[in-house]
Symmetry: C2
Subunit: 240 residues, 2 copies
DNA sequence: CGACGGGTTGAGCCAGCTCAATGGGCGTGG
DNA sequence: CCACGCCCATTGAGCTGGCTCAACCCGTCG
């Protein structure tokens, strides 16, 4: 199972996929492409012939405000769909951009649509993925809207750890966290200067450490308690 | 068309429903129930045999923080599903409560599931509703996280007007807005005292007026401009 | 009549902001 | 090999939007 691709690892949490489903998902990709950091995936208005899945790297959904500030509204990690079902909404109400170099897998829209019709467990898993995205947005709304900036950062790191763990991208309490303080600021809606101060505070309290873009959640329990992090909203299975 | 129920009026925006689809949706409700203001719909853990749709009144999704504050993360207006597909996530990560007296329609889960399988346009319309909910969450995240409290309130009122208009619950620029300042505070994550001050300011600027729980967006254009409101994220059709 | 749930207003406070300056790492060009 | 520029992290200083606390008013309801 360790060699399963990230999409399958993730979707396993959404349905009890059978061997045949796994086989189908293994053959679902049409092709792959590499994209550098800071590029927009999926230009607006472009006819969406393919669905995109992140295979490596990190991307985000974002909106740009009239004054030029960037608001990041979702993080897209390995295994995440970028644009499942954009066809239904017709036009994008946000942009999707890479935060690091990324490897993107492409699925032909028709192939996926067929699978959703004929294989109920795959259908269920994709529904699950969509609903979890929504649940994450609700939690972010609470995080951004109600918590102190220290709690916000702590909560973000706890969530990142939990999500990366499900696709096998953590090592114990540490993981690769390539975001600049400016990116973290765009994620949380606080200023980059303040990100710096809060990070120092979390470090000084011995809750985490950061070196070479690798973050170590030294005291995960403490971070979770501080930030009121409870992973139920991610709706992950514990028995995989 | 004026006598169509709110669910149908709303779903028309998600797909070009045919007469037979409309007929099916008209007969979809199993029964109705009335609920007073301030009640929780859908208790946690309860086996979800029915899907709930708001027929009148207003409800919300909310989470309660450890310190007792309430964060409202969605507004549920007439025509909105409360719990389409909760079955897939297994357990609720939030609560659903009424903000006013409500009339709720119940749909048997199996009946709806059957329709989603057999009638593609109904399936598409329900997907559309789910994806719009997600788009609204993204916009709220920007609203709560980035905009000034004056912009936040203005944006909320513009959105409410647009959403209520699609189900025929506005009269020109005015509509019934039964929220207390405390509720508005829970919606935006600001204090009730501050809601008061900002409302006064919006009134003093001649942008809106409020009387007997009815709000009048005197200068809708001005409110939209102030708050950077652009209704594309609601993905409504203009030609209905 | 009193209690209670709103709305309104004043006064002082503080988390997080902006502006500004400094230092380190790194790629580029001379 | 060094000089330069650039991006990012860091730190200081002062400002402010929105907060809390605390009154007070009004209409409604038991």
């Amino acid at each position: 199972m360790a060699d399963e691709n990230y999409l399958i690892r993730k979707l396993r949490h959404g349905a009890n996929l059978e061997a045949e489903d796994i086989g189908r998902l293994e053959r679902i990709f049409d092709r792959f492409k590499s994209v550098g950091a800071g590029c927009d995936l999926i230009a607006e208005g472009q006819p969406p012939s393919h669905v995109h899945v992140i295979m490596s790297g990190t991307a985000c959904r974002y909106k740009v405000l009239p004054d030029g500030r960037r608001a990041i509204v979702s993080l897209l990690l390995p295994g995440d769909f970028c644009d499942l079902h954009v066809a239904i909404l017709g036009h994008m109400d946000h942009s999707i951009g890479t935060l690091t170099d990324c490897e993107i897998a492409l699925i032909e829209r028709d192939v996926l649509a067929d699978m959703l019709i004929h294989y109920p467990l795959i259908n269920r898993a994709c529904w699950w993925a969509t609903l979890v995205d929504e649940a994450v947005l609700r939690e972010w709304l609470v995080n951004i809207g109600r918590r102190s900036s220290e709690q916000q950062l702590a909560h973000l790191f706890c969530e990142l750890h939990a999500r990366l763990e499900t696709v096998g991208l953590t090592e114990g309490q540490s993981f690769f966290m390539p975001f600049t303080q400016t990116t973290l600021a765009d994620l949380l809606g606080i200023s980059a200067v303040h990100v710096q101060r809060v990070m120092s505070s979390l470090r000084d309290k011995g809750l985490l450490s950061l070196q070479d873009r690798r973050i170590n959640l030294i005291d995960f329990r403490g971070l979770a308690e501080l930030s009121d992090f409870d992973p139920v909203y991610l709706h992950l299975k514990t028995d995989i």
